[in-house]
Point group: C2
Chain length 401, copies 2
């Protein structure tokens, strides 16, 4: 058997524990609180199918021939206008491009900004796909303690002083994955000030920002930066249209964007044009805000149902949980007396899947007492039955001691 030498930057990245859980999910009787999937009820199937006909009738060659790496220009323009009108993001000094989902924005930004050994500062816990993207580009993710109002400003500044080679502060400021937390306005201003003071870029990952179902809208870091050149902003249509279309967007200072475009060109040439055209037509012919409003109501109902069930059933378990104002996730802490891996295993045996907190740490072996729960994907019946499994499993483990 031939052996292969894997590059240093890739050899350390293990297929995540989350993948093992996903295998279990192929069993349809398992209730999945584990995925980060939007609800299929949120997909605008009828509209996409209609728009598809229009694409093939009116612009079939455009949809199928090679296009430019930057993306379909009319879609880019509509995104820029919408960001300006709706989120007060003025990309006057920026270049906005289409990427193959938000993940690619994270990957390309770190590829362009990080040399091997450079540091990316991020929340603890944070999105596993981002942690692995940083590692795959030779960078080292360093996680900073974060609470329900976001990253610790004091510890972030300490880290900026300690790590002279920190290049990026990676944040999911709104309805964070996995914690469901949202960075407070005060902290948003403070993070931005630190980025300017220490000359690092903030990579603002905002896939869930439009999924607020209660509380007040907060300005994005990008809008607070107001064209100051300190923020690369990534978002996508994955959570508001559908994820498998793989259409996201990125807005970055033009000097950085020009390199990100080159990096994208060598990565996949361009994002599939067909779904860029579908998104463009959707923005032109339908009211996407009305569509998003429906998703917000759907997820609000699911989240409140889940929180209600947890409130009823977690009382004696000692499990604590966050109460997010939007997004897809909430975050639970087990009491010290329950072992996380035993708990996750027992729940899975009883057909409910959650993701253990270690998955969201740069070093997966680090101890964790937390787990992530998704409320967008399971049905209402599954939410009720699944929370019951979590509660019973916790009680049984407590009693078993």
């Amino acid at each position: 058997m031939r052996e292969y030498k894997i590059s240093d930057k890739m050899v350390s990245i293990k297929p995540s524990a989350i993948r093992e859980i996903f295998k279990a999910l192929s069993d349809p009787s398992v209730i999945s609180f584990a995925a980060g999937n939007p609800s299929p009820d949120a997909f605008p199937l009828g509209q996409i199918s209609e728009l598809s006909k229009i694409v093939y009738e009116k612009t079939p060659v455009l949809a199928l021939q090679y296009g430019i790496t930057e993306g379909y220009a009319p879609l880019v323009e509509k995104i820029r206008l919408r960001m300006k009108d709706k989120f007060n993001i003025d990309c006057g000094n920026d270049t906005t491009i289409i990427v193959a989902g938000g993940q690619q924005g994270i990957d390309l930004t770190s590829k362009v900004m990080c040399d091997e050994g450079d540091v990316v500062l991020c929340e603890k816990p944070t999105f596993i796909g981002a942690l692995n993207a940083f590692k795959a580009n030779g960078a080292i993710p360093v996680q900073i303690e974060s609470n329900f109002d976001g990253i610790s400003i004091e510890k972030l500044e300490k880290a900026l002083i300690e790590y002279k080679n920190a290049k990026i502060i990676y944040l999911i400021p709104t309805f964070q994955n996995p914690s469901g937390s949202t960075l407070s306005l005060e902290k948003r201003r403070a993070v931005l000030a630190l980025a300017k003071k220490y000359g690092v870029i903030i990579l603002e990952d905002n896939p869930y920002g439009e999924l607020r179902f209660r509380g007040e809208e907060l300005p994005t870091l990008k809008s607070l930066d107001n064209g100051g050149g300190s923020v690369v902003y990534c978002s996508s249509f994955s959570k508001i249209i559908a994820p498998a279309i793989r259409v996201g967007y990125l807005s970055a200072p033009s000097e950085l964007a020009s390199k990100i475009i080159v990096a994208k060109q060598v990565s996949d040439v361009h994002t599939n044009i067909y779904f860029q055209l579908i998104c463009d037509l959707f923005l032109e012919r339908y009211n996407i805000d009305e569509h998003i409003e429906k998703i917000r109501v759907l997820y609000k109902d699911k989240c409140l149902l889940m929180l209600g069930e947890m409130n009823k059933k977690f009382g004696n378990t000692g499990i604590k949980y966050t109460e997010p104002d939007g997004g897809l996730f909430l975050w639970c802490d087990l009491p010290e007396s329950i072992d996380l891996s035993e708990f996750v295993k027992l729940c899975l045996e009883r057909k409910a899947a959650v993701v253990p907190g270690g998955t969201f740490l740069a070093d997966e072996r680090e101890a964790s007492r937390s787990f992530r729960v998704n409320f967008s994907y399971p049905s209402n019946e599954q939410i009720i039955a699944g929370v019951d499994i979590l509660a019973r499993s916790a009680m049984d483990l407590l009693r078993g001691q």
Copy 2:
């Protein structure tokens, strides 16, 4: 104005000269021999539009929800069977995955195999997208003299001895981009023996292999390796269905493939599912070989028309040109008395665009007297008018001396 520090691996990659030419192509009066685009007449528009309806009727949620990184399993299986039946490629020891076009296969393979400073040996000239992918992953492309029967075996072995950190031999063995050359059977065997002797992997990039319109089929390096674990094989549906769908595939020894899957997951999560389903249905419901046969006839006619025109008009210019047996490109050498950049400029002023040879060199500043001509994309009328412009421009430059 804020300044940004770009990573070492990306800072050296300049937007290629080819991009400047592409800007000129937005002028519809310019005859493009410059692009690598398939003919839009080769797109199976009717079939794709039909299959699209089926996808939205039968499996809409599958088409729009997150999928697995490896790709849609039934499509992967059909590709494996077709590779076996048609090209004698037995992927028994391999894992086959879907990638976002052949480009992503090149990018991910080099990411997984190359540390910074490692060497990738490749043809001179070769595909600019591959050269930049190697650089973007910190590797150094080293080009080996190549002729119309492919890479020089003697010089390849010298390079393998010289560069102990060579990890990959990157080849487009059939209808090479840009030269249109095809690696002879004898040389295929020799390259494979060298890869085994020196413990390096061959990355076989085969996007054009099915576009042979004359001469005998040659076995792929992958089939000659016969499960020996020395070849990563990349191909795609870009040139036989349509490029903007961004569906390619890669077959690699499973140990490597498992890392390539992780690298893909952090790069773009998965390839858009909709066009994976379209490709799967196409293979199921239509005869793709009949469809490819039509493309071969179309490109044969275009290529022979172009060669006929060159034969008529290049006689006094001293321009030499290759006569490929398939693919999209042929390769021309100017006589020493004509300056390449003056020639390219004059042709562009006269509304015919070709790509100067330097574009396909690891160091673009290196001298070249060659240029690439594409015959798949221009219409027959454009081929006749365009070759005339090339001939007249060459004659005028010769006379002007």
